[in-house]
């Protein structure tokens, strides 16, 4: 009798455990479709660069890249106090994000007021951004309808964010042309063509998303440029280029390094590259934000 009772109890407890496990896995595989989130991540440092480009060009003046005269730069640098770190200022990102938030809420996308976006993208140790305050992020949620695809939702959000960033550029940035028209006669037509090719290729490589993200574009750009001029691109071991790009970079590196060794006017070419890069960045708002559709 006791044996029979123990046996039954054993099977009964096993059944309970098995049914609870089934319930657990059922719950696990059925509840996730309801949770739909996306994150808007604004590239704070790139935005700060674009809106304070004169100061940023001047800050790089003492390296190999010199855009302005020293006198001009001294005046600009004196305007800013030493403590103020221009890259970490989040006021512009806040302003743009607030506008995006208002417009998204009108389209039934809700802001989630928790710390998850900050925890994921911004807080240290950050696996996403390189320096603290490089990015500014927010989490939004949406109701998923079976009839609406993810592409439809993206099509609703992307133009809206683009518009906000373009609006900011229009209102806040002046079309200051950078002074680089002098010394144009230093090179002949052939060389100018080669410089144009060099500029285009270099920008294409820097903006290639396979090599690195859109965050910190300026820092990366300066890094590659400095590596080319000093012929020390191997030091940038964090980025691995593919074979054809490596070949191109080596060729351009040799060219720029030779110009530097022969004391030719290298600043002129560098100015040209930097200003082209700047204008390419300013034309396309997609360099200033990222949109991620992650579940949870």
């Amino acid at each position: 009798m006791q044996k029979h009772y123990a046996n039954k109890l054993f099977y009964f407890s096993n059944c309970i455990i098995a049914s609870l496990l089934v319930l657990y896995f059922l719950n696990y595989y059925t509840t996730f479709s309801k949770k739909n989130f996306f994150y808007v991540v604004i590239n704070n440092s790139s935005l700060n660069f674009i809106s304070n480009y004169e100061l940023n060009f001047c800050n790089n003046m003492y390296g190999p890249i010199q855009i302005y005269n020293k006198n001009f730069c001294e005046n600009i640098i004196n305007k800013f106090s030493e403590d103020e770190n221009i890259y970490s200022n989040k006021s512009i990102s806040h302003q743009i994000m607030n506008n995006i938030e208002k417009r998204l809420e009108k389209k039934n996308f809700r802001v989630i007021k928790n710390n998850f976006a900050y925890e994921k993208f911004e807080s240290t140790p950050s696996f996403y951004s390189i320096a603290l305050n490089d990015v500014f992020s927010k989490q939004f949620s949406y109701d998923k309808d079976l009839r609406i695809t993810l592409e439809d939702i993206k099509n609703q959000i992307v133009p809206l964010i683009d518009e906000e960033i373009i609006k900011f550029f229009k209102n806040n940035l002046h079309n200051n042309e950078l002074d680089f028209s002098k010394n144009n006669s230093l090179f002949d037509g052939r060389e100018v063509d080669y410089h144009n090719l060099l500029t285009d290729d270099l920008i294409k490589i820097v903006l290639n998303e396979k090599y690195s993200s859109k965050k910190n574009l300026m820092r990366k750009f300066y890094g590659i440029l400095e590596g080319l001029i000093n012929n020390s691109l191997e030091d940038l071991n964090l980025i691995t280029f593919n074979k054809s790009d490596k070949k191109l970079l080596k060729e351009y590196g040799d060219y720029l390094h030779n110009l530097k060794l022969n004391n030719k006017n290298i600043n002129y070419i560098i100015k040209k590259i930097v200003i082209k890069f700047y204008s390419v960045l300013r034309e396309d708002p997609k360099f200033f934000y990222d949109l991620y559709f992650f579940n949870k």
Binding site: N115, S123, P125, F127, I130, I239
Partner: protein, 479 residues
């Protein structure tokens, strides 16, 4: 219980078979590769490994086998219930832990999601350049679990910790077997480990501590195997070596302490237990001492390093809000004034005189319960500790050296914890291995146990609290 086992032998024989495990591992690998019910297969695979490793226990003591499995499933479902309940009450991700376990989980998830969506270039390049001593490895471990199934939530992540805790219980049984504890008491001590409130509380959070506790148990098992030369189970040996190496990924510093414990146990075995050539012993001893002297001279500046760490790093991280309580006064003591303040921190942490922080949440409330359990174990082990000291001289050498090895290891760990945490709130979290030590001390010294002993412990605890609380309230009424 014997009735059950005799009838259902076939039932477990299937689960114990190597072929079944091989099939399960194959299915798990396939499901992860194809993302087809990968979490289901992964959890079942871990449960199967748990059953397989406890095969020996099933043959020797079925009650303990059922205890470990039942406790594991209970913890599994209690954890599910707790997380669903707190999620409904508005706690982020259902955890009461707060910042640490959420950030570990979310960062791991971000890494995994970017990898899965082929956006790994978006990640910060330094992810590939993580130092081995870095805390970041635990984020990567979280990412690895997330890669199994990207849909998992925090509560699923914790299930892995709960399974690891069940593995700890299995190894714990083998430690007692190695030190030849009376078979009547083994069930009691495995039960005490399984229901340990402090360990249970922390195993419900996504923290490194529970994994480090597992590594610590693995280390104790290995040193018990070395000292007693009593290798029962090769599966457990493999598991414990894995556990020891796992601590190198989670926390390199702890791995070094564990390695040190193992070296100490090897030397105890070689020099003091095996009675052989004296010249060889002296030679070994000189190498051992030379090793220590080398470390001492290499890290000459340990003293200054401790003081600089104390002054700068911890002082900036932890700032209590008021400066009125006794806890805050101890908290503000500087090691630069006196290096022996470290022992005040230690006592402070063990007694739980915490500084006053403005933030008070449910986590602290649960921590108080865990602290009460810790104190009860402390009283029980001190009661038995004196008897343990007496027994050590009389009993065999192996047990004595095993106790000394574990004591050295635990002492280094708690001193480090005291240094890092100022003996504040985090001390109870980091010193999880102390609970295990108390259980081992009680188990070594126990001779006969009766119900009066439990009442005695609770009585001592209440009296000690009254001794502390009466003057406190009296002094407070005077102010």
């Amino acid at each position: 219980m014997t009735y059950i086992s005799s009838i259902n032998r076939n039932y477990f024989l299937v689960l114990f078979s190597n072929f079944f495990l091989f099939l399960a591992s194959l299915l798990t690998a396939l499901s992860i590769y194809t993302s087809f019910f990968s979490w289901f297969f992964f959890i079942l695979f871990l449960i199967l490994i748990l059953i397989k490793t406890s095969e020996n226990i099933y043959k020797e003591n079925k009650r303990i086998f059922y205890l470990i499995l039942t406790s594991f499933f209970l913890k599994f479902f209690i954890n599910e219930f707790i997380y669903v309940y707190f999620e409904l009450r508005g706690y982020p991700l259902g955890t009461i832990g707060g910042s640490d376990d959420i950030s570990y989980f979310l960062k791991g998830k971000l890494i995994a999601q970017l990898f899965i969506n082929d956006l790994s270039a978006q990640l910060n390049p330094r992810i590939y350049h993580v130092k081995i001593s870095d805390n970041q490895n635990f984020y990567l471990f979280n990412a690895l679990i997330n890669l199994i199934d990207i849909k998992i939530s925090l509560k699923e992540m914790i299930k892995v910790g709960i399974i690891i805790n069940a593995f700890s219980a299995v190894i714990f049984y083998h430690i007692y077997q190695n030190i030849r504890l009376n078979k009547n008491y083994i069930f009691l001590f495995v039960f005490l480990f399984v229901i340990d409130l402090k360990i249970f509380f922390y195993s419900n959070l996504n923290l490194k501590e529970i994994y480090l506790l597992f590594s610590f148990i693995c280390c104790i098992y290995l040193s018990s195997v070395i000292i007693t030369n009593n290798l029962n189970n090769k599966k457990i040996l493999a598991l414990s070596i894995f556990g020891l190496l796992f601590s190198a990924i989670i926390r390199w510093q702890f791995f070094l302490i564990y390695l040190f414990m193992i070296i100490v146990s090897i030397y105890f075995r070689l020099i003091l237990i095996i009675k052989n050539n004296y010249i060889l012993k002296l030679f070994n001893l000189s190498i051992f001492l030379g090793f220590f002297l080398l470390i001492f001279f290499y890290y000459e500046d340990v003293y200054n390093y401790i003081i600089i760490y104390n002054n700068q790093i911890v002082g900036n991280l932890l700032t209590p809000n008021e400066n009125l309580s006794l806890g805050n006064k101890i908290f503000s003591l500087k090691l630069a004034d006196n290096i022996f303040y470290i022992f005040i921190y230690l006592g402070h942490g063990i007694l739980g005189i915490f500084p006053i922080f403005k933030v008070s949440n449910l986590y602290f409330e649960f921590q108080k319960i865990a602290q009460v359990w810790f104190h009860l174990l402390l009283i029980a082990s001190t009661y038995h500790g004196f008897r343990c000291l007496k027994n050590l001289n009389k009993n065999n050498l192996e047990l004595t050296f095993f106790t000394i090895t574990v004591t050295i290891g635990v002492f280094i760990i708690i001193l480090l914890c005291a240094l890092v945490t100022y003996g504040s709130l985090e001390f109870s979290r980091y010193s999880l291995s102390l609970n295990l030590y108390f259980l081992i001390i009680i188990a070594i010294s126990i001779k006969n146990l009766n119900i009066n002993f439990i009442f005695k412990i609770i009585g001592v605890y209440v009296v000690m609290n009254l001794i502390l609380l009466i003057p406190y309230y009296y002094l407070k009424s005077l102010l």
